[in-house]
């Protein structure tokens, strides 16, 4: 009985006690939350400078991070709008006999008819070809019913299956028949509006060039910004044989200039397909070492040639974006610690009147998280507002709307939370473990020995990151200038060029004679390709080669005037000449080819193309026929018959004013070819069409942007650090002044500390930057110069010393009595 009563009493006691306990907890929590917010706002009011600095720091850090998250996610999410995204592949050609292995995005048309169509995993096949030969930057002229003409880039020959494989929205026409018949063309909405502003394009006629009428069979909504394929118009593939004259194009295994796309059945394994098609070139002469392979849609944008260049670029950018964010975090930690000394009393008192360490730490952590979240929201607006600016800096046209990109918003909120926790944890632990007895006596700093050394590490890390970013920016800046200004090995300033595809043959000498009447025209030539435009490959063997040895070489068919027009220099032998009739069966190679062939005396040696021998009459000094980014390829020139026929490129070297020369050659050519469209362009247009130039230029702009932001954030951080150090030493400086010490000695002491950290930063930042330089893609890099490093170091040092000077002067010049009055 007694036991039972006891148990009852005891039990009820416990439950009553727990209830009270719970209520107490509740009351505490409620009041605490309210006070927490009031406290935050009052703190902001009391520490305006701190709040503004710290918030600016976080907002800048986050805004940059957000901007580049958007940018990088834009690059990584290309083509995702396609419903068949996971099952679309481009069939590309791997050429293992060139060194390094060439991953060619193009493939022969035979793939479509004799390879992919027979693979059971393949659901749909699609054959396409860029109109005008596939050289980037070459386009097509159109003539409108009213006789006017215009030039259009990015047109394709295409089969109708494009509508089944890619997600395309038709404005007019029928998806199942739009491109099935010869003589039909589908227009993008933009092009359609340009040609037929009154609408209703369907059934109307457009003339390709000046001769070939095609009927508009469909109008499609423009492909989105983030589509790798952005055709401005599509001509039906059945039109191709008639227009190009290649009637048996579907049987051709060696004309590697088509785009083959396939849609695999759901769940099909691309590796299996790869294994099945691997040996397709087995019986194709000279192509035995080539093989087709599937390249997924997801990689077409970031790595079209199966090369990591763009990915490396994106990785470097991501690293930079993260470093900026880390920089902001470090700043936050430093500034929080610096400011915490102001709040020491608050902390001490709260502890004395009954706040636990845990509670205080939680309060500070929550405060930090709230700061970062608030900063993130501000940063979102800043990022949104500054995106057009970024677009302009980077010369991009990214459609940017943060608010409906849920994935990105979630990612950013998570990062923001993480940043809040990371940058709040350490200060909150330090601050909450202040000893109240010491704090209330104003001795917080004697307690902070440990925290100061961690601070030093943080600041040293910050110096290192800043230095690293600056050096990399300088390296990139110099690299881009190097690429832009590198001697290409040929005349590229006073050059005008045009494509022309005349209906009637025309002896070149006629054109030349007319043009050269004008003293403004220094030289004129025509050829099948010119530097940076057009690329014809071919396998050759050579005198002295091993039996199975051959080389994929860049071919160009030129006339007598090509070498002088471009001012190419001969290393051996001579240019083609009319004095040697046998030259029409001869060739000229470049130095790289000479190296590969291994001849010591090249003139007269034989090169075999498709079994026919061509003696070498000369070797030109190496020049850059394509992007400066890539190594100079082996190169061979053959003599054409000096009669302009078919698609060709005309080059004019002029003297004097470009405008005048352009007007002149345009007028002359118009009288020679009244029925054929053309347009003279400055060579820089061809040069800047180079994807590598675009890549490096945007890398450069981004890094300059990063460098500026880094400097800004570092300055904020240093400001905070030195504010902290000087505050810590206010009294010391006061005492020293009373004792008669000079401002200089205080200054010197602070400086030695900063010099030490700068030294650490140099040890870390420089090797890291050199590493980036080494991983940087590109065949030609400018050697590193010591100035890149020295300027960056000097810049960081100058900022450090300006900040030191500001604070030291402020304290040192002030009245020592004031500094000593505390305590």
């Amino acid at each position: 009985m007694i036991v039972r009563v006891l148990i009852l009493w005891y039990g009820s006691g416990i439950s009553r006690w727990t209830i009270i306990q719970k209520q107490t907890e509740n009351n505490r929590l409620k009041a605490m939350i309210k006070h927490f917010f009031i406290n935050i706002f009052r703190n902001i009011r009391h520490n305006k400078v701190f709040t503004i600095i710290n918030l600016a720091n976080l907002v800048i850090g986050f805004a940059v991070f957000i901007l580049f998250s958007v940018l990088i996610s834009h690059e990584l999410n290309f083509d995702k709008f396609n419903t068949n995204y996971d099952n679309i592949y481009r069939v590309q050609t791997r050429q293992e006999d060139s060194y390094p292995t060439n991953f060619c995005t193009y493939s022969p048309a035979a793939f479509r008819f004799h390879l992919m169509a027979d693979v059971p995993e393949v659901e749909k096949v699609l054959l396409m070809r860029e109109v005008s030969g596939g050289a980037k930057g070459s386009g097509q002229f159109f003539t409108l019913p009213d006789g006017s003409q215009f030039y259009q880039l990015n047109g394709y020959w295409s089969e109708n299956s494009i509508f089944d494989i890619f997600t395309i929205n038709l404005k007019e026409g029928n998806k199942s028949t739009a491109l099935t018949e010869p003589g039909t063309i589908a227009l993008s909405e933009t092009l359609s509006k340009k040609i037929f502003p009154e609408g209703n394009a369907l059934g109307k006629q457009v003339i390709v060039g000046k001769r070939f009428p095609v009927t508009v069979s469909a109008v499609y909504t423009d492909f989105p910004q983030n589509s790798n394929l952005k055709p401005t118009y599509l001509v039906s593939m059945p039109t191709y044989p008639g227009l190009s004259g290649e009637l048996a194009y579907g049987e051709n295994w060696t004309n590697i200039s088509f785009d083959n796309y396939v849609l695999l059945k759901k769940g099909a394994d691309p590796k299996l397909v790869d294994a099945k098609i691997k040996n397709a070139f087995k019986d194709v002469k000279n192509f035995e070492k080539s093989s087709p392979y599937l390249h997924p849609l997801s990689k077409l944008h970031i790595s079209p040639n199966s090369q990591p260049d763009v990915i490396i670029g994106l990785a470097i950018l991501s690293l930079a974006a993260f470093l900026v964010l880390i920089l902001a975090c470090v700043n936050y930690v430093n500034l929080s610690l610096a400011n915490s000394t102001q709040r020491a009393t608050e902390i001490g008192i709260k502890k004395v009147i009954g706040s636990s360490k845990k509670l205080l730490a939680t309060q500070f952590l929550a405060e930090t998280i709230l700061h970062t979240l608030f900063a993130t929201v501000l940063a979102l607006f800043v990022a949104q507002a500054s995106f057009p600016l970024l677009n302009r800096i980077l010369n991009k046209n990214i459609d940017f709307s943060l608010w409906n990109n849920a994935q990105l918003l979630i990612f950013i909120s998570l990062v923001s939370l993480l940043v809040g926790i990371l940058s709040g944890l350490y200060p909150s632990l330090v601050i909450s473990s202040y000893n109240p007895v010491k704090v209330l006596k104003g001795k917080v700093f004697s307690n902070g020995g440990n925290s100061i050394s961690i601070k030093k590490i943080l600041v040293a890390a910050q110096f290192s990151i800043s230095l690293f970013m600056l050096i990399v920016s300088f390296i990139l800046y110099n690299h881009v200038n190097f690429i832009l200004n590198k001697d290409l090995g040929f005349e590229n300033k006073k050059i005008l060029y045009t494509e022309i595809n005349p209906r009637d043959k025309m002896p070149f000498e006629t054109v030349k004679t007319r043009m050269l009447q004008h003293p403004e025209i220094a030289d004129i030539s025509f050829s099948s390709t010119i530097p940076f435009i057009g690329n014809i490959g071919g396998y050759v063997t050579w005198e002295g080669a091993a039996p199975d040895e051959k080389e994929m070489i860049s071919r160009n068919y030129v006339n007598y005037d090509f070498i002088p027009t471009y001012n190419l220099k001969m290393a051996y032998g001579r240019n083609f000449s009319k004095e040697y009739p046998a030259d029409n069966k001869a060739c000229i190679i470049n130095e790289t080819a000479l190296k590969v062939f291994g001849w010591s005396d090249p003139v007269g040696k034989l090169i075999y193309l498709e079994g026919r021998p061509f003696p070498v009459v000369g070797v030109v000094k190496d020049f850059h026929p394509y992007s400066v980014h890539n190594p100079i390829p082996t190169y061979i020139m053959f003599l054409n018959n000096n009669v302009i026929s078919g698609s060709t490129l005309l080059t004019v070297r002029f003297t004097g004013d470009e405008q005048k020369a352009r007007a002149l050659v345009t007028r002359e050519l118009d009288t020679i070819f009244p029925n054929d469209p053309f347009e003279f362009k400055d060579f820089s247009i061809a040069f800047y069409l180079d994807a590598a130039i675009e890549f490096w230029q945007s890398m450069k702009s981004m890094f300059i942007f990063f460098a500026v932001v880094t400097l800004l954030i570092s300055t904020i951080g240093l400001f905070g650090l030195i504010l902290f150090t000087v505050k810590r030493r206010t009294k010391e400086i006061g005492v020293r002044k009373v004792l008669g010490s000079s401002v200089g000695s205080v200054y010197w002491q602070l400086s030695t500390e900063v010099i030490g950290m700068l030294g650490f930063a140099i040890l870390v930042g420089c090797p890291a930057a050199i590493y980036i330089y080494k991983t940087m893609p590109g065949a030609y890099k400018e050697p590193l110069t010591i100035s890149e490093f020295l300027i960056a170091i000097a810049l960081v040092a100058v900022i450090a010393f300006i900040t030191i000077s500001y604070h030291v002067l402020k304290v040192a010049v002030s009245n020592p009595v004031k500094a000593l009055r505390y305590e």
Binding site: N27, T345, I349, P436
Partner: protein
């Protein structure tokens, strides 16, 4: 109530041990008003901090109500601070970001008192100290004496058994100091145990018992009137 037995407090440096308190024995009964006096560096504040559980002795025993309070866990210490003792400081140490009202209220929040009860209790104290009109001001807007009154209010709002005051009048002019001492005396009369550290002979007299510390050793421990008569 308070029982200190053979308390030492020292700091070890390489070759030397420096004593701040040495073999201190002290018993304080409930309802006492003790003044601790002594020259600078005699260990007064250290003793007070040890009693207030803000500092730990190097050796000796310390019990409150016959329960040892050495080696208490953080949580238990926090509990004592919330429910058992209040502190007053020479420099007032009010939280500058908080109004008078909030400063006084804060300990109740940590104690977990309901909002309505808190309001009543704070209002009561404000009334008692004639500070109702000043409740929304911030500490900087008050005179030193008024700030210390707020400090006292904050210290006693949680109805502690023990009030520890570290030179509560050190920063005040004598008139204001007297006001503060009278307040303390009144609290003592109502039954609160008070231990104060002071330099001021006159204010020490407000205590019922005076302890004189010198070099960490209790030299005298006498009822205040006797000291007065000497």
């Amino acid at each position: 109530m308070i029982h200190l037995n053979n308390i030492d407090k020292y700091y070890d440096s390489k070759f030397q041990r420096t004593f701040v308190l040495k073999a201190v024995n002290l018993e304080v009964k409930e309802g006492e008003f003790v003044s601790i006096m002594g020259p600078s560096g005699s260990g007064k504040s250290t003793l007070l901090n040890i009693i207030g559980l803000l500092d730990a002795p190097s050796a000796g025993e310390y019990s409150l109500y016959d329960k040892s309070v050495l080696d208490l866990k953080e949580k238990a210490k926090v509990d004592y601070h919330r429910n058992f003792m209040g502190f007053i400081f020479q420099a007032y140490h009010l939280i500058e970001e908080m109004t008078v009202y909030e400063n006084i209220e804060t300990p109740l929040i940590y104690k977990g008192v309901k909002s309505r009860d808190r309001q009543a209790m704070v209002a009561d104290l404000l009334d008692r100290f004639n500070m109702v009109a000043k409740k929304d001001l911030f500490p900087q807007q008050l005179s030193g004496g008024q700030q210390q009154l707020v400090g006292i209010a904050r210290a006693i709002i949680g109805k502690p058994k023990l009030l520890l005051a570290d030179e509560p009048t050190g920063n005040l002019q004598s008139v204001q100091g007297e006001m503060i001492m009278e307040t303390l005396q009144q609290l003592n009369n109502e039954g609160m145990t008070i231990i104060q550290v002071t330099h001021n002979e006159k204010f020490a007299e407000y205590g019922k018992r005076i302890i004189r510390l010198e070099d960490g050793i209790i030299r005298k421990d006498v009822a205040s009137k006797i000291v007065f008569s000497i």
